[in-house]
Protein backbone atom coordinates (compact mmCIF):
# COMPACT_ATOMS: atom_id res chain seq x y z
CA UNK A 1 0.00 0.00 0.00
CA UNK A 2 1.30 3.45 -0.91
CA UNK A 3 1.89 6.04 1.74
CA UNK A 4 -1.06 8.37 2.34
CA UNK A 5 -0.44 11.84 0.96
CA UNK A 6 -2.17 15.19 0.50
CA UNK A 7 -1.43 18.08 -1.83
CA UNK A 8 -3.10 21.49 -1.78
CA UNK A 9 -2.96 24.63 -3.88
CA UNK A 10 -3.90 28.22 -3.27
CA UNK A 11 -4.22 29.39 -6.83
CA UNK A 12 -2.03 30.64 -9.64
CA UNK A 13 -1.16 33.90 -11.29
CA UNK A 14 1.62 36.38 -11.73
CA UNK A 15 3.01 35.88 -8.26
CA UNK A 16 6.38 37.47 -7.89
CA UNK A 17 8.51 36.95 -4.85
CA UNK A 18 9.84 40.44 -5.54
CA UNK A 19 6.31 41.78 -4.98
CA UNK A 20 5.80 39.98 -1.69
CA UNK A 21 7.17 41.36 1.53
CA UNK A 22 8.70 38.79 3.88
CA UNK A 23 5.72 39.34 6.19
CA UNK A 24 3.19 38.70 3.44
CA UNK A 25 5.08 35.66 2.21
CA UNK A 26 5.14 34.33 5.74
CA UNK A 27 1.37 34.68 5.94
CA UNK A 28 0.93 32.54 2.86
CA UNK A 29 3.44 29.96 4.03
CA UNK A 30 1.83 29.80 7.47
CA UNK A 31 -1.64 29.33 6.00
CA UNK A 32 -0.56 26.64 3.56
CA UNK A 33 1.49 24.89 6.25
CA UNK A 34 -1.33 24.82 8.76
CA UNK A 35 -3.82 23.46 6.24
CA UNK A 36 -1.57 20.80 4.74
CA UNK A 37 -0.55 19.70 8.25
CA UNK A 38 -4.21 19.39 9.23
CA UNK A 39 -4.79 17.17 6.21
CA UNK A 40 -1.70 15.16 7.03
CA UNK A 41 -2.91 14.60 10.59
CA UNK A 42 -6.27 13.43 9.31
CA UNK A 43 -4.61 10.96 6.95
CA UNK A 44 -2.42 9.64 9.77
CA UNK A 45 -5.63 9.05 11.75
CA UNK A 46 -6.99 7.01 8.82
CA UNK A 47 -9.50 9.60 7.66
CA UNK A 48 -10.84 9.04 4.15
CA UNK A 49 -9.36 10.96 1.23
CA UNK A 50 -12.81 12.44 0.66
CA UNK A 51 -12.98 13.84 4.19
CA UNK A 52 -9.42 15.12 3.98
CA UNK A 53 -9.90 17.09 0.76
CA UNK A 54 -13.22 18.44 2.05
CA UNK A 55 -11.63 19.79 5.20
CA UNK A 56 -8.54 21.13 3.46
CA UNK A 57 -10.61 23.08 0.94
CA UNK A 58 -12.99 24.30 3.67
CA UNK A 59 -10.00 25.72 5.53
CA UNK A 60 -8.68 27.33 2.35
CA UNK A 61 -12.12 28.90 1.83
CA UNK A 62 -11.92 30.35 5.33
CA UNK A 63 -8.57 32.03 4.64
CA UNK A 64 -8.92 35.52 3.08
CA UNK A 65 -5.56 35.22 1.33
CA UNK A 66 -7.00 32.87 -1.27
CA UNK A 67 -9.63 33.25 -4.00
CA UNK A 68 -12.37 30.99 -2.64
CA UNK A 69 -14.96 31.56 0.06
CA UNK A 70 -13.82 34.52 2.16
CA UNK A 71 -11.38 36.42 -0.05
CA UNK A 72 -13.15 35.54 -3.30
CA UNK A 73 -12.63 37.91 -6.19
CA UNK A 74 -15.36 40.30 -7.37
CA UNK A 75 -17.52 39.92 -10.44
CA UNK A 76 -17.98 42.84 -12.81
CA UNK A 77 -21.08 43.87 -10.84
CA UNK A 78 -19.16 43.86 -7.55
CA UNK A 79 -20.50 40.67 -6.09
CA UNK A 80 -19.09 37.26 -5.40
CA UNK A 81 -20.15 34.14 -7.28
CA UNK A 82 -18.45 30.97 -6.22
CA UNK A 83 -18.05 27.48 -7.66
CA UNK A 84 -16.90 24.24 -6.04
CA UNK A 85 -16.58 20.58 -6.86
CA UNK A 86 -15.63 17.39 -5.08
CA UNK A 87 -15.04 13.90 -6.44
CA UNK A 88 -14.62 10.50 -4.84
CA UNK A 89 -12.20 8.39 -6.86
CA UNK A 90 -13.40 5.17 -5.30
CA UNK A 91 -17.01 5.25 -6.51
CA UNK A 92 -16.59 7.95 -9.18
CA UNK A 93 -19.22 10.01 -7.41
CA UNK A 94 -19.10 13.77 -7.75
CA UNK A 95 -20.92 16.83 -6.49
CA UNK A 96 -20.60 20.45 -7.55
CA UNK A 97 -22.20 23.86 -7.17
CA UNK A 98 -21.81 26.95 -9.36
CA UNK A 99 -22.73 30.59 -9.06
CA UNK A 100 -23.54 30.43 -5.36
CA UNK A 101 -23.49 33.73 -3.46
CA UNK A 102 -24.62 33.06 0.07
CA UNK A 103 -22.99 29.79 1.13
CA UNK A 104 -20.00 30.32 3.37
CA UNK A 105 -18.30 27.10 2.32
CA UNK A 106 -19.21 26.11 -1.22
CA UNK A 107 -17.20 22.89 -0.93
CA UNK A 108 -19.54 21.70 1.80
CA UNK A 109 -22.48 22.36 -0.50
CA UNK A 110 -20.74 20.36 -3.22
CA UNK A 111 -20.25 17.53 -0.75
CA UNK A 112 -23.98 17.62 0.03
CA UNK A 113 -24.77 17.40 -3.68
CA UNK A 114 -22.50 14.36 -3.89
CA UNK A 115 -24.00 12.61 -0.89
CA UNK A 116 -27.62 13.65 -0.77
CA UNK A 117 -28.81 14.44 -4.29
CA UNK A 118 -29.35 12.46 -7.45
CA UNK A 119 -27.45 15.10 -9.40
CA UNK A 120 -23.86 16.13 -9.99
CA UNK A 121 -24.02 19.91 -10.51
CA UNK A 122 -26.48 22.43 -9.10
CA UNK A 123 -26.31 26.14 -9.94
CA UNK A 124 -27.39 29.50 -8.54
CA UNK A 125 -30.56 29.76 -6.53
CA UNK A 126 -31.33 26.07 -6.91
CA UNK A 127 -27.98 25.13 -5.45
CA UNK A 128 -28.55 27.47 -2.52
CA UNK A 129 -32.05 26.18 -1.90
CA UNK A 130 -30.78 22.62 -1.89
CA UNK A 131 -27.97 23.46 0.52
CA UNK A 132 -30.36 25.26 2.86
CA UNK A 133 -32.77 22.32 2.71
CA UNK A 134 -29.88 20.16 3.90
CA UNK A 135 -29.13 22.39 6.86
CA UNK A 136 -26.61 24.92 5.55
CA UNK A 137 -26.98 28.54 6.62
CA UNK A 138 -26.96 31.46 4.21
CA UNK A 139 -24.66 34.43 4.75
CA UNK A 140 -24.42 37.95 3.35
CA UNK A 141 -22.51 38.14 0.08
CA UNK A 142 -20.35 40.90 1.59
CA UNK A 143 -18.85 38.35 3.99
CA UNK A 144 -16.56 37.25 1.14
CA UNK A 145 -15.23 40.77 0.37
CA UNK A 146 -11.76 42.01 1.19
CA UNK A 147 -10.18 45.41 0.37
CA UNK A 148 -7.45 43.70 -1.66
CA UNK A 149 -9.95 41.99 -3.91
CA UNK A 150 -11.93 45.21 -4.41
CA UNK A 151 -8.81 47.05 -5.45
CA UNK A 152 -8.04 44.17 -7.81
CA UNK A 153 -11.47 44.66 -9.38
CA UNK A 154 -10.89 48.38 -9.88
CA UNK A 155 -7.57 47.66 -11.56
CA UNK A 156 -9.07 45.03 -13.82
CA UNK A 157 -11.91 47.38 -14.78
CA UNK A 158 -9.48 50.12 -15.65
CA UNK A 159 -7.50 47.72 -17.78
CA UNK A 160 -10.67 46.21 -19.24
CA UNK A 161 -9.62 42.66 -18.53
CA UNK A 162 -10.13 39.75 -16.18
CA UNK A 163 -7.46 38.49 -13.81
CA UNK A 164 -6.33 35.29 -12.17
CA UNK A 165 -6.11 34.85 -8.41
CA UNK A 166 -2.75 36.44 -7.80
CA UNK A 167 -2.31 38.71 -10.80
CA UNK A 168 -2.36 41.80 -8.60
CA UNK A 169 0.12 42.51 -5.81
CA UNK A 170 -1.24 42.93 -2.29
CA UNK A 171 -2.36 46.43 -1.33
CA UNK A 172 0.50 46.96 1.09
CA UNK A 173 3.02 46.13 -1.63
CA UNK A 174 1.69 48.48 -4.30
CA UNK A 175 2.77 51.61 -2.46
CA UNK A 176 6.37 50.54 -2.69
CA UNK A 177 6.57 51.24 -6.41
CA UNK A 178 9.02 54.01 -7.26
Amino acid sequence: MSKAVIAIHGGAGAISRGQLSPEREQQYVAALSAIVEKGQQMLEADASALDVVTEAVRLLEECPLFNAGIGSVFTADERHEMDACIMDGNLLQAGAVAGVRHLRNPVLAARLVLERSAHVLLIGDGAEQFAVSQGMAQVENSLFSTPERHEQLLQAREAGDTRLDHDAPPLDERSKMG
Binding site: I6, G10, G39
Partner: protein, 133 residues
Protein backbone atom coordinates in the same frame (compact mmCIF):
# COMPACT_ATOMS: atom_id res chain seq x y z
CA UNK B 1 -8.92 29.06 -6.75
CA UNK B 2 -7.99 26.55 -4.13
CA UNK B 3 -7.90 22.78 -4.19
CA UNK B 4 -6.82 19.59 -2.54
CA UNK B 5 -6.10 16.03 -3.64
CA UNK B 6 -5.40 13.09 -1.38
CA UNK B 7 -4.61 9.40 -1.29
CA UNK B 8 -5.71 7.72 1.95
CA UNK B 9 -4.50 4.64 3.79
CA UNK B 10 -7.14 2.51 2.02
CA UNK B 11 -5.81 3.49 -1.40
CA UNK B 12 -8.71 5.78 -2.22
CA UNK B 13 -8.20 9.01 -4.13
CA UNK B 14 -10.28 12.19 -3.88
CA UNK B 15 -10.15 15.73 -5.24
CA UNK B 16 -11.85 19.01 -4.35
CA UNK B 17 -11.66 22.48 -5.88
CA UNK B 18 -13.28 25.78 -4.91
CA UNK B 19 -13.09 29.25 -6.40
CA UNK B 20 -14.40 32.77 -6.64
CA UNK B 21 -13.55 32.68 -10.34
CA UNK B 22 -11.74 35.48 -12.14
CA UNK B 23 -11.71 39.14 -11.12
CA UNK B 24 -14.13 41.23 -13.21
CA UNK B 25 -15.81 38.14 -14.68
CA UNK B 26 -19.30 38.56 -16.08
CA UNK B 27 -22.10 37.65 -13.68
CA UNK B 28 -23.17 34.10 -14.43
CA UNK B 29 -19.78 33.02 -15.71
CA UNK B 30 -18.88 29.48 -14.71
CA UNK B 31 -15.30 28.31 -14.97
CA UNK B 32 -13.67 24.92 -14.92
CA UNK B 33 -13.84 24.38 -11.16
CA UNK B 34 -17.33 22.82 -10.90
CA UNK B 35 -17.07 20.98 -14.22
CA UNK B 36 -16.16 17.39 -13.44
CA UNK B 37 -13.17 16.42 -15.57
CA UNK B 38 -12.22 20.02 -16.32
CA UNK B 39 -11.02 21.50 -13.04
CA UNK B 40 -11.54 18.57 -10.71
CA UNK B 41 -11.36 14.81 -11.18
CA UNK B 42 -10.59 11.68 -9.19
CA UNK B 43 -10.45 8.03 -10.19
CA UNK B 44 -8.89 5.29 -8.11
CA UNK B 45 -7.72 3.64 -11.33
CA UNK B 46 -5.51 6.57 -12.19
CA UNK B 47 -5.27 9.94 -10.47
CA UNK B 48 -6.83 12.77 -8.46
CA UNK B 49 -6.47 16.25 -9.95
CA UNK B 50 -7.37 19.83 -8.94
CA UNK B 51 -6.70 22.68 -11.37
CA UNK B 52 -6.25 26.45 -11.19
CA UNK B 53 -5.88 28.97 -13.99
CA UNK B 54 -7.74 30.30 -17.00
CA UNK B 55 -10.90 28.28 -16.59
CA UNK B 56 -12.21 28.55 -20.12
CA UNK B 57 -9.12 26.81 -21.50
CA UNK B 58 -9.20 24.10 -18.83
CA UNK B 59 -12.83 23.48 -19.82
CA UNK B 60 -12.03 23.22 -23.52
CA UNK B 61 -9.20 20.79 -22.76
CA UNK B 62 -11.03 18.78 -20.10
CA UNK B 63 -7.68 19.18 -18.43
CA UNK B 64 -8.18 17.13 -15.28
CA UNK B 65 -9.69 14.16 -17.11
CA UNK B 66 -7.03 14.48 -19.80
CA UNK B 67 -4.38 13.68 -17.18
CA UNK B 68 -6.30 10.56 -16.21
CA UNK B 69 -6.90 9.51 -19.82
CA UNK B 70 -3.26 9.91 -20.77
CA UNK B 71 -2.31 7.67 -17.87
CA UNK B 72 -5.07 5.11 -18.33
CA UNK B 73 -5.13 4.78 -22.12
CA UNK B 74 -1.68 5.88 -23.21
CA UNK B 75 0.23 4.50 -20.23
CA UNK B 76 1.95 7.76 -19.42
CA UNK B 77 3.42 8.32 -15.98
CA UNK B 78 1.82 10.98 -13.79
CA UNK B 79 4.71 13.34 -14.43
CA UNK B 80 4.63 12.84 -18.20
CA UNK B 81 0.85 13.25 -18.37
CA UNK B 82 0.99 16.46 -16.34
CA UNK B 83 3.78 17.89 -18.46
CA UNK B 84 1.89 17.05 -21.65
CA UNK B 85 -1.24 18.84 -20.45
CA UNK B 86 0.19 21.82 -18.56
CA UNK B 87 3.39 22.53 -20.44
CA UNK B 88 2.31 21.61 -23.98
CA UNK B 89 -1.46 21.58 -24.49
CA UNK B 90 -2.46 24.39 -22.12
CA UNK B 91 -0.13 27.08 -23.52
CA UNK B 92 -0.97 26.00 -27.07
CA UNK B 93 -4.54 27.15 -26.41
CA UNK B 94 -3.42 30.33 -24.67
CA UNK B 95 -4.10 29.03 -21.17
CA UNK B 96 -2.25 29.83 -17.98
CA UNK B 97 -2.23 28.03 -14.65
CA UNK B 98 -1.41 24.71 -13.10
CA UNK B 99 -2.67 21.74 -11.17
CA UNK B 100 -1.93 19.40 -8.32
CA UNK B 101 -2.21 15.65 -8.81
CA UNK B 102 -1.63 12.42 -6.92
CA UNK B 103 -1.73 9.05 -8.64
CA UNK B 104 -2.78 5.71 -7.17
CA UNK B 105 0.86 4.91 -6.34
CA UNK B 106 1.16 8.04 -4.25
CA UNK B 107 3.27 9.99 -6.72
CA UNK B 108 2.76 13.76 -6.53
CA UNK B 109 2.93 16.26 -9.40
CA UNK B 110 2.51 20.04 -9.09
CA UNK B 111 3.09 21.50 -12.56
CA UNK B 112 2.21 25.04 -13.65
CA UNK B 113 2.97 27.31 -16.60
CA UNK B 114 1.92 30.58 -14.96
CA UNK B 115 4.41 32.88 -13.30
CA UNK B 116 3.59 31.42 -9.96
CA UNK B 117 1.50 29.09 -7.88
CA UNK B 118 0.95 28.52 -4.19
CA UNK B 119 1.02 24.86 -3.20
CA UNK B 120 2.03 22.34 -0.55
CA UNK B 121 2.11 18.59 -0.07
CA UNK B 122 2.74 16.19 2.78
CA UNK B 123 3.13 12.44 3.09
CA UNK B 124 1.85 10.83 6.27
CA UNK B 125 4.69 10.85 8.77
CA UNK B 126 7.00 13.10 6.77
CA UNK B 127 7.79 16.79 6.96
CA UNK B 128 5.43 18.88 4.77
CA UNK B 129 6.71 20.74 1.71
CA UNK B 130 5.33 24.25 1.23
CA UNK B 131 6.18 26.53 -1.63
CA UNK B 132 5.42 29.83 -3.29
CA UNK B 133 6.80 29.72 -6.81
Amino acid sequence: TVGAVALDSMGNLAAATSTGGMTNKLPGRVGDTPIVGAGCYANNASVAVSCTGTGEVFMRMLAAYDISALMEYAGLSLQDACERVILEKLPALGGSGGLIAIDREGNVALPFNSEGMYRAFAFAGDAPNVGIY
